[in-house]
Structures are given as structure tokens and as C-alpha cells.
Amino acid sequence: MEFTSFLWLTFGVFVTLCTMSFLYKDNPFYKFAEHLVVGVSAGYFVIILWHQGLVPKLFERLEDGDWYYGFLNSSHWEYIIPAILGCLMWARFSKNYSWLSRWPMALYIGISAGLAIPLEMSNKVNKQLHAMMVEIDWANFFGHDGFNLLDVTSGFSQLLIMVGTISAIVYFFFSKEHTGVFGRVATFGIWILMIGFGASFGFTVMARISLFINRLQDTFDWGGVAFDSTNQHYSGMFPGVFWAFTLFVIGYVVYEIVTYLKQRSATTQ
């Protein structure tokens, strides 16, 4: 690894620590990292949208026309219409002409709804309903490959899905008071929902820890590169940067601890 790449790696570790410092308290380092991420993302998005969207989809289509004819002599002059509609979105900034922005919005929402409704209905409602309405496999109630209650094709799983779904729906039926048998079914429904939320929570914990693990891996890699003498570009600058950065971090942590202790003693006095 070249020294410049190592410096970028060091910067990555720095930004990681800046971000994680928020777990202790809000501070200028965290603010720096936060603004950096937002700024870079926004800038990157604008450039990507320009080069992948506007240039190939609009400017290149109209390039055989002349600006003084308003590109109406272009072979793809019809692309002027969506361009004008796009420009009308900017009318929102004017108090008098903001109503013009409703035209492109109406077109956009209309097309989106037209595309979405039949496909969403078919794939998210009908197919899911169909998947629910399967015949329970009584012959293999406890699973196909030996005793396995959680085999998704086993009769037990199918029965549990059917009962669970109906119970969860009952919980959201508020036109009848949740008492008696109806109340017990609704209670079972909330248990089913809680098990679902629990599974989601478990996955979410795993996801958050995964992010931290990734930063750990990069930080350990950074430490490894700093002392990797087999690296063909290795020089004394690598461990120099490592130690300078490490001392800076330790110094800042010590400063925070001293400040905290001073504040604490001032409060007790």
C-alpha cells in the first residue's frame, strides 16, 4: 500500500472515531464527521444525477438541435416537454407561480400510481393471500425430513401460520370489544406480533453490531498496515503517522476525563 492510501485509511479511522464519539456526548469532531457525510453524499448525488440522468437522457438527445430554435429542430424534440415539466418543479419557489409545479407532480404521481397499483396488488396482496391458503399437509405434520416442527412445509408450520395470521388480524379488529374468546384470540395475536417484532429486533441488533465490526476490521487493518514491513512502499512514515494519531486520540480522551473530573468536583463542592 502506498503512503497516500495509508493516509486515506488513517482518515477513515479518524472519521470512525469522530462518529463514535457521539456515544459519549455531542462534540465538534462528531459535527465535522456528520457534515462531511451529508455534504459528500449530496455532492456525489448531484454529479451522479447529472452524468447518469440529465446528460444521456436529455442533453445528448437534443444535441443535434440548435439553442436559438429552442432545440425544436432536434430529431428528438419531444424531450423538450419533460424538460419543461422538470423546470416547472422549480416554480415552487415562487409564491405566485407555485401552482405550476402541480402539473409535473400530477403527471409523476399519476404514472407511478398507474404502474404501482396493479403490480403491488398482484404481488403483495394476492400472492401473499394465495400463499396463506394452502392445504395443511397433515401427512407430514411434524416435517418432511424427520421430526422438524420448523420445516416451513410441515403441517405444524402451516397451521401456526394460519392461526397466527387470523389471531393477529383479530387484534386489529376494534369494532368488537376484546373480551371472552375474542379477547383471548386477540391476546394470542399480540403474542404472535411480539414474536415477529422480537425477530426483527434480533436482526436489527445483528445489523448494528455488524456495522461496528466492519469499523473494527478496518481499524485493525489500519494498525496492521502501519507496521507491515513486507509492504514494498513501507517507510518510517507509516508507524510515525500511526503513533502521532494514536497519541492525539489518547490525549483527547485524557483531556475529556480531566474536564469531567473537574466538573464533577466543582459540582460536589
Binding site: 444521456p56 403483495k124 400463499a131 441488533v205 445489523a207 453490531i209 455488524s210 466492519n214 485493525f220
Partner: protein
Amino acid sequence: MELFERLMKLDRRWVFLLLIIVCVWAYASSFSVPILVMPEVQSIYDKVEGLPEGSVVLVAIDYDPNNLAELHPMTYALVEQCWRKKIKTIFTALSMNGPGMCVQAIRDITDSVSRDKEYNGVMYKGREVVNGVDYCFLGYKPYYAIVILGMGQAFNQPYPTDYYGTPLDEVPMMRGIINYDQVDLVVDISGGNITDAWISYGQGRFGFDLALGLTGVMTAQYYPYLGSGQVIGIMGGLLGAAQYEKLTDNPGRAKDGMRVQLPAHLVIILFIIMGNVGFFANKLRLRREGRA
């Protein structure tokens, strides 16, 4: 102050500190944890393994750097498996920062495939992976639903050129590949709701085989599609990635990270139990004292 009351008022920063210490300790240690492969991950592996040489897999890199930790290992394991088996790959990136992720993955996997390696007892000779011959990267286009529908008509409709500016009709690999009909498997590796569009507008409309690689947060939400047969398999979070790495005998960052997950989860479970014990004990004490 009573112990349980103190438990309830524990500064959350102690939890963070303990979690950090445990994670760093676990990562610095050399133990490993067994990875059990779930059927929904196995089915994706089996599908790719069953594809003959020259088949086409579309890999949708629909994630940003904030999901890289969980999803990059999936991409690396899956694409390397494809390229080792000489399966052609079409990449799309319908997420804003996806192209950067895709370019990085292509560069690293190309480098890995150039070396001889043994996977599951089979020796694969290193070879050069060529852009336009072994893979085609189509790049990013805004409005993913329209792009997914457009590719169902013809790939060159939403993508007249590939990411590098070569007209799609001139890309050797894309000759004869018009739309999803010529694609044997679509794998959406996603960190957002683009997956919904692949299910509704892609699989639902055009009927191709769809497999998902998802972040942990999303995984539970997409299991119903597995039960209904709309997707053939799901890799969920870092665990799914580790399972796929195990299946492809290509251990990477996911398998490496799983040994940290175990103690981290134990710490969180411990704090949940402590919090609940504190809550109920405090409630009981207040009831006894007649304050609640």
C-alpha cells in the same frame, strides 16, 4: 438507592463502553464460532452451482456504503463463485452510491479470481476477468421502478451504454441478451426498499428467479416472500453472508465478524434481562410500599 433502582438508572454510556470492550476483545481473540447454513441460503448456492458455464446472473448492487458491512461480503462470495464457474454477470446499481460499491467489488474480486484457489476441494486456475466479456456493469439510473420495468423490455432501453460509456450493443457479452428472458437468476443485494420494486415490478411482472441479499434490519420483513415462492432464497445480514461464505468455501469478512456477534449478543441479552429484572423488582417494591 436500591440495587434495582440503580439498574434502572444506569447511564447508557456504560452499556456502550462494555459492548465496545467485548467486541474489541472478541475480535482480537482467535476463537471461531460454528456457522449453521439455513435452507434459504443453501437454495441460492444450489441455484448458482447448478448453472452451466456461460449462464447469466444479474447482480443488483442496491446498497450504499452505510450497508457495506453486511452486504459487501455477500457480493464478494456470490460474484467470485460465479466468475470461478465462468458464469457471466450483469451488474446494475439502482442505489445512489451503488456504482462506487460495484466498482470496488469488481476490482477486488477480479484481483482474487486472477489467483489459483481451491474451493470445496475443487482447484480453480486463476484467470483474467474481462469487462464486456465476463461481466457488464450497467451503472446507476434514477427511478429504480421504471428502470426495472424497462430492463424487462430490453436492457438497452434504460441503459443505452454501460457504466464506462460503451454502447450496450457493442458489448460482446450482451450479444443475444435482450431482457430478463436470457437471465438465469437475478440476485438483489439491497439495503433499502428497492427490493420491493424487484419483487413487484421485476419478479412479479416478468417471472424470473429472484434471490435476495438483505441487511439484518430488513430480513424479517421479506420472509413472507420466501414462503410464497416469490423469491428462491434470502441471505439475511452478516449471518447470511457468513453462511454463503461457508458454502462457497471462501471465508471473508462476514465469517470473521461472526465471532464478535456472539459475545456482543450475549452482552445485549444480559442487559435486557437486567433491565427487565430491575423494572419488575422496582414495580414489586413500589407495590409493597403502597406507592403504586
